[in-house]
Symmetry: D2
Subunit: 316 residues, 4 copies
């Protein structure tokens, strides 16, 4: 029986200390600390870890953190959306995103060639620059072969990039596959389409790639899902682990609530009806903005794992 | 200058009368009536209407309403997710979904072979029955050709069904294309994969299908988006209209908020920064559960349009 | 075992028909129909009904509906906040509220003397007019007695008003007490304070009024709570029924979620831990904007009750 | 023009470093860092700081942090609800609250005499113990005088307690008034009522206390509001600062959204229409669970202020 404990600040408090204290504060802070502990369990028990996120998180500075997580081998499989991929490439090739305001005059922004994602801005120019960069990449891919699965294509692109903070780069360098079931849903899709118009035998085979994610794990292996936000990235990882007997561990971090029956808001409890997770200590759902909650939970987990020598190569 | 008006109930009040009154109540009720009026504008101005929804809405009884909307030609293009497609087929081939509870014992449900989607239940049996039904369908498709786009495949499947309440059936019958940028993200994807394992030359071409949605409209045409829920269905319709110069009209109905910068919560205001919509009277964002809000807004629009003779063939 | 049913619109559909259909659609629509049925149960079983709402709902056009509900004797006790009381008086004495926009330029509105409540506007002028109207009312009250409880004061004020759409008027006319545990939290509080400065023996006795709400019901009586929104109005009604052995019926309609442990988001399930409600068929929590959901649920209940002859004096 | 920056974890990272990095991540993390900076501004510019919170936060371990904040003189006026006061007294007199689960069997909890507040538990026994403790306190208060304002009563009670983590204790010791416009809305109200039944001349004067909060600041003084959660605590602080010419600084932290027009969800932008705040750099609204967000923002502010020597007496 754990008691609520009065929280007190100490000068110089670390993130680990604060998140440890969260376990006795209440409400979502308790769930957040629980999620850190579930992540630690995944790693300790050598589970295959599926990390999923939506494109707006790649728009944000979490992108560099995702890349670092891959570098530290804290994820074995990544699932995301087309927007996340193209923005990772944009940033890896020099584009800068700007901090704006939730309450902008959007008509004015549009006139300035600025596209708003919450309180972040992407210049229309970044999209035209992306076009200049993706075309030679597609040429190189096509020169190599005509028939690609999405994850293999991403691996090739990752090897062409040179940015420690790039998700594609770190994934390729660390042999971590990235899946994207809706590859055409973005500027990338548009350029793939235009490319195919010129090269009729160019094929992106999503069906075959479903086999790749399916075979990325197995019934015998322990599996964990860290799903940030909802959408098909979350669903795809859950689907894959389900077809492999269900995940043993699950952490869902989202702003969506379960009350509308959406995938985005589906909790780790609902997951129990579909699959295999049985023990409350192995799942956690944290309601809140991932830009705040995910660094807290993951840093707490990373500090625990580093202290126990389970993560190597960390600069102190 | 519109005034707030004290609402009074009258015995036998119709949905149209209530939604008309909403315009003077306040908060989301005002936005809901606005959304009905934007839908009417879309139709009156002969805009090409993109209707998007997520799979949980097809799990719900909204499925029959979507089919009816297609029959009444109130949408010209549909975008949804793989789950929505497979559940439409399940229902069209006799599966029944059951009303449950948000606070179920999910471990117990799992033991009973019941999968929970919010307060709705799908039996595991329905998925095995789906397998029995989709395999001969895939055989027929393959016999016809080896290389399919997603929307063409859906059209063929729709023609094989016989259910007035089926989305695929009504779409096929009324020549309305259905797009699904993440075709593999569901049981359907699994069966496509297994099928491809046996028939190596079976190809689902998502890149080519991006061309199909892109060419489903044009710069010259007026365009309207009715996006229910978020996810890639919403994003894909917006992307397509954007690449065609932007939508003139937009109605977003969702439970997500704009505060986390997600696509699901992006408002019609944010859309202005990306595209073309300029006039406040042509966009509406309604926050609320679509199972409640969409029938209200669409019925109000349908009643207006029927009264003006703009929708034909309605049983009175 | 209730099944999900495909929804179809019929021309001229009534609110009652739509809400009846909600029971088989899914997600919050099911909960909404359940809430209508719980309200019907309250009335049929002669429960004492506590209706609570927050001041923003009185800013909206729901005010007239609340008044009508009191007239139809669908509530026996009302709990609200100071803002709700003062705005009811403002409207009863001629002030008009205006429909605005959620995304206004608030600095500009301020310069125009306009105060924004979501997408509704209240002129600063309405507050100065309120001052002119409340002062003679306080004079009359003081002339009658020096020591008032809040609910008795409201009854007197209600008798001075002449507006069928006024909550205070209908409450007074139908002998329904209105409680307001935070009477000073509004412009009303300011005027009470200034009045007391001139009349040192003027006392508003909130402690005594707690006795009044406590004695407004009893252990022997069945009790129902209809709580719209959260805040202390909701809490106060629950507290009072709890001290009388717990409510048998409860309907909570709110936009708040249970995940932060707040009173506003507390569900009818959480209520079971505190009190007496035991049967799931007697409680309902509906997540959504009350400006949309409450008219739907209450109209469905009113139509049912009128059809069964349990509500009299309804104009057809 | 601030750029989005890729976030990277460093071993041993402090809370201050993380929150500093938040300013370049995106979405709510940016708003959170902004809120920390607004709090620093309040202090640097010697604003009178109004801190408001709801009772569930006192149920949680934030209670000790609030007490510490008062000890560090980071707030000059406190506004809260009755539940917050009684739970502070309970804890100061030895009651322990327990960490539970959001998805409990509430009927079972009730049988065990456990009351649930989100994922926290309060035993019914704690309420009966509270009764034993509050009665002698009321006797002492009554022996001193018959006529009390709420804030004066709280000061007296605070002086009777002996707990460094008690809000009432630290407030009394540091001459910080606590206001509670809805004093009767809790177990405290019930005991006040019973006490008044025996002592008819015992008066709690809320109207006079409105004068006390009104005179706690002035037009000439700079004012800042830190509102945690919504409800009347938030509204009361805003009302008081408004009647004194408006607050120069405002930080709102809440899970409520502005879309339903409620006080809980009202943003600092909406506040501009009512008052005086003009500069975006002086206001911040953070959407998220206060149990996570408030420690982060306040610790960042405390570290900044301590580093600059603006807070004294901090143990290092």
């Amino acid at each position: 029986m754990e008691l609520v404990k009065d929280f007190n600040w100490k000068k110089g408090m670390t993130v680990k200390e604060l998140v440890d204290a969260y376990s006795q504060i209440g409400f979502q802070s308790i769930e957040l600390k629980k999620s850190a502990d579930v992540i630690v369990k995944m790693k300790k028990n050598s589970a295959k870890i599926f990390l999923t996120f939506t494109s707006n998180m790649v728009t944000s500075g979490l992108r560099g953190f995702f890349a670092q997580i891959l570098k530290l081998k804290m994820a074995d499989v990544v699932v995301t959306t087309a927007g996340g991929i193209e923005e990772d490439i944009m940033k890896a090739t020099g584009e800068k995103f700007v901090i704006g305001n939730f309450n902008s005059d959007d008509v004015e922004l549009h006139e300035q060639g600025i596209n708003r994602v919450g309180n972040l801005h992407i210049k229309t120019e970044s999209y035209t620059n992306f076009e200049d960069r993706i075309l030679p990449i597609l040429d190189k891919l096509y020169a190599k072969q005509k028939h690609w699965t999405v994850s293999e294509m991403f691996r090739e692109i990752g090897l062409m990039l040179d940015d420690e903070n790039s998700i594609l780069y770190q994934a390729a360098k660390n042999n971590i596959p990235i899946f994207c079931p809706a590859i055409t849903d973005g500027a990338l899709g548009f350029h793939l389409y235009l490319f195919q118009q010129k090269h009729k035998d160019f094929i992106v085979d999503v069906v075959k790639d479903f086999g790749n994610i399916l075979l990325s794990t197995s019934f015998d292996e322990k599996k964990g899902v860290i799903a940030l936000g909802g959408s098909i990235s979350k669903h795809h990882a859950i689907l894959c682990t389900l077809l492999n007997g269900g995940a043993e561990y699950a952490v869902y971090m989202t702003t969506a609530h379960k009350t509308s029956g959406s995938m985005s808001g589906a909790t780790t409890d609902e997951a129990k009806s579909w699959g295999k997770v049985k023990d409350d200590s192995d799942v956690a759902t944290v309601i809140g903005d991932v830009s705040i909650t995910f660094p807290l939970a993951m840093i707490n987990a990373l500090e625990q794992l580093t202290d126990e020598g389970l993560i190597k190569g960390v600069d102190k």
